[in-house]
Symmetry: C2
Subunit: 249 residues, 2 copies
DNA sequence: ATCTCTCCATGATCTGGATCAAAACGCCCC
DNA sequence: GGGGCGTTTTGATCCAGATCATGGAGAGAT
């Protein structure tokens, strides 16, 4: 069981105000713009969004916020990976997902976060004041529509994950996870032979409702059987068909 | 394992057009209006919605649509209960939820449904042409905002259910289900001593990632221990504290 | 180079819930 | 009332994956 992570020192640490236009990394040259919620906006609307945007950096293994915290901000991830999780009183945890570039954090627009978010790698984020963002979403129809697209897409993924957690065997769960993660990474970086796994075995286990031993044994067996290959900080999928077959049942 | 349910004979069976205003059950006197998506609309907007609304009735144990079907319509439930589920190729199923009055079916606004919906009881629905409804949502800002509220609320529930499926023991799952179901029913009918359970044991099991035997044994034990009482078509919760304690761990 | 710390792998054993089997209970239809 | 059928209950047994235990490998720190 992992201990508590350090929280970023304060709400403004690592922030670069971008409103004045002096900021180097503007939306126009943003790598994830087409995938993120911002894609919904017209050129002049982008400018309005930029006015309430603060770019921030989070070091690896740092808490962005904890479940129950007042949700002062919402975020778009521009680089790096975060782990989103809910915790039970006795220490059991469920990793509800991993956020990667283009993902929006805080779709619920609720007063308080329903989960915790921790960086696994160094992370860059666009940070928006929640109230201001909500106001903008209520003015700009395209933005609200885009938020809804994101939320309902997430809902579909959540339902698919319910099937994994409720009805799939251990091996199927791990295979489904690897294929799904590969798909998401491919969308960002294009098809690649090697698959980076920034999360640890315990994180995968807590995502799939398994123990770290079961995840480790499953991956070890696949390595022995040349289905995957161990590479530093990730794996290479040698026999994708075998994984797909495993998921198909 | 349950067999396939009969599908309603055709897309227009049991439909009552309501556009002309001759329909008895208009939105103004709708019991679930304040809970449903329609609550977002102004009086004149309601009229526009009413123009694309068809009231329909579905008998008990009948399919409304199957996963993968083209999503021609979306729905608001006005009475009765439906079961929403995803199926695996080999017959395993995950009940992703139960839809009750006020719930919206088709939040994803996708071309195809990602799950199947079957009535457990006789059901009344407001049926909307998906395209027309989507058009209206893009015109009426309040409606889109309301859809997003519904979707992000559902997302939060889905994440909570992931914790149940991924990390809770059998007894905790059943207790969490009963309390959650009681809460939802209370919102509709007010606090009531008896709790109707329109779904069968197998449905509960498939919702909680358990077998029917485990659900049955858990309920039977609680009946022996006077935590709940068996009543026709439901139960009466005698010791809610005991259930809450079970969920708290 | 050694110490410490965290993460991962792997073997041995245990167990919660699944699976298998068989009554018992409605409930509808005749 | 009685027969058929789907659902639920209850008991006996099994097993996939959890738990327990140990060792190893890498990454910093000094």
């Amino acid at each position: 069981m992992e201990g508590h992570l350090p929280t970023s020192p304060g709400p403004l640490s690592g922030l670069t105000p971008c409103g004045g236009g002096q900021c180097a990394s503007v939306c126009a040259e943003c790598r994830v713009r087409l995938y993120a919620v911002c894609a919904a906006l017209e050129r002049d609307e982008i400018n309005e969004l930029e006015r309430i945007t603060q770019h921030m950096t989070l070091p690896a293994k740092t808490a962005l916020f904890h479940a129950g915290d007042a949700a002062a901000s919402v975020y778009t991830v521009t680089s790096g990976t975060l782990r989103l999780q809910r915790d039970l009183a006795d220490g059991r945890r469920q990793v509800i997902g991993f956020a990667i570039p283009g993902d929006f954090i805080g779709l619920a627009m609720d007063d308080h976060f329903g989960f915790s978010a921790d960086s696994l790698t160094p992370v860059n984020l666009c940070r928006f004041d929640r109230q201001a963002f909500a106001r903008l979403a209520h003015e700009k129809h395209g933005l609200m529509g885009r938020l809804h697209d994101f939320a309902s897409h997430e809902l579909g993924l959540a339902q698919e994950h319910m099937v994994v957690l409720g009805r799939r065997r251990a091996e199927e769960r791990v295979a489904a996870f690897l294929l799904r993660w590969r798909e998401r990474m491919a969308r960002l970086t294009g098809a690649s032979a090697t698959l980076a796994l920034p999360m640890g075995r315990q994180d995968i286990a807590d995502h799939l409702g398994l123990t770290i031993e079961t995840v480790s044994r499953t991956l070890a067996r696949w390595m022995r059987e040349k289905v995957i290959l161990d590479v530093p900080d990730g794996i290479r999928i040698l026999d994708q068909g075998r994984l797909e077959q495993t998921v198909a049942g």
